[in-house]
């Protein structure tokens, strides 16, 4: 029933984007884009966690961490965009930092040598 899970993704995006009152200052298309990325980013996390559970390798552990950071970045960015708020470290928005963390972890996943 993997296909039913896949089918849930577009349904979830449509329902989350259009089911409530449209409170955001964003246009509907922009709003939908941020909902879609926040929902879609869960999929690579799930796949990476599965791959790590199957292999137990350091490379997949780093890849999982990279996707988790990327998911955190996308969800944070979507929240900031939709709510019109932001959180910063110094003058750097948190989502920028999370993007950097994800990139570093992803690079490490490619460079790491398996034992």
């Amino acid at each position: 029933m993997k296909w039913a899970l896949l089918l849930a993704i577009p349904i979830l995006v449509v329902v989350l984007s259009l089911s409530g009152p449209h409170v955001s200052h964003l246009t509907l298309g922009h709003f939908l884009l941020h909902i879609a990325t926040a929902v879609l980013v869960v999929l690579p996390v799930y796949l990476a966690v599965n791959a790590y559970a199957r292999t137990g390798s350091r490379r997949f552990l780093l890849l999982t961490a990279a996707f988790v950071a990327l998911a955190a970045r996308e969800i944070t960015l979507s929240y900031f965009m939709i709510s019109g708020t932001t959180a910063t470290v110094g003058d750097i928005p948190v989502d920028h930092l999370l993007g950097l963390v994800a990139l570093v972890l992803l690079t490490a996943a490619f460079l790491v040598k398996e034992q």
Binding site: L7, P10, V14, L18, L28, G29
Partner: protein, 247 residues
Amino acid sequence: MIYLLKRDVFSPVGLALMAVVWAASVATASLGYAFAAAISAVNILSLLVFLLSIFVAVVGVVNDREGAVYFYLSKWGRRRYAAWRLYVNTLYGLAAGFASTAPYYVLRPELWHIAAAAVFATALLGSQLGTLAAFSARGRGYAYMSALAVWVFLALVYDLAVAFASLFAPMGDAQLFALLVLNPFHCAVLPSLLVLDPHMLTLGAAGQFAVRQLGLGAAALLIIALYAIYTAIFAYAAYEAGRGRDI
């Protein structure tokens, strides 16, 4: 592939449904090419071609399962059989859809591309759903019953259910539009209707909302993207059902 296609082309259920769609396409062409007539024609042809493509796909699979499936499986293996069956069902669904609506294109050449787009989209979707229903069912009776249930729900009951639900739980324009695009059958037909009715007047409040909030281009893009996603997922599901189940 030819083995599979030969068996399908002469299936009585497919031929009977093609005759019905053929007659209906003559009748819809006789309505004329005014706005309401064209909208009605696209809707009626889509409904019937959807049913036709679902059923020819079911017939193809159940005939295999009660006949030569052992031969196909031993010759090709599960993966190749599932892929070929899905491919042939899609091909035959599209061919049957276009052949049976041919009178409409001949009699109303000014609208042929709009009707053909709807026929193509619904036949493609119907083929995937029919194949999925037939591979997932326990036997012939269950396959026909589930295919008919899918058609009745998506093409007929869904809109009635939404209409009744909106009486008891008043919904906003955004919710109505969401319910519209959650139905894969609507996503197949709506792009053709958008060509005929660029302001989405026939969709009422939901259409007004889509045009106002998204604009025509983005609304069309969203609907086509959802249609592509639904169709790809159903195709994958049908392939997995054919490959993984003990058919």
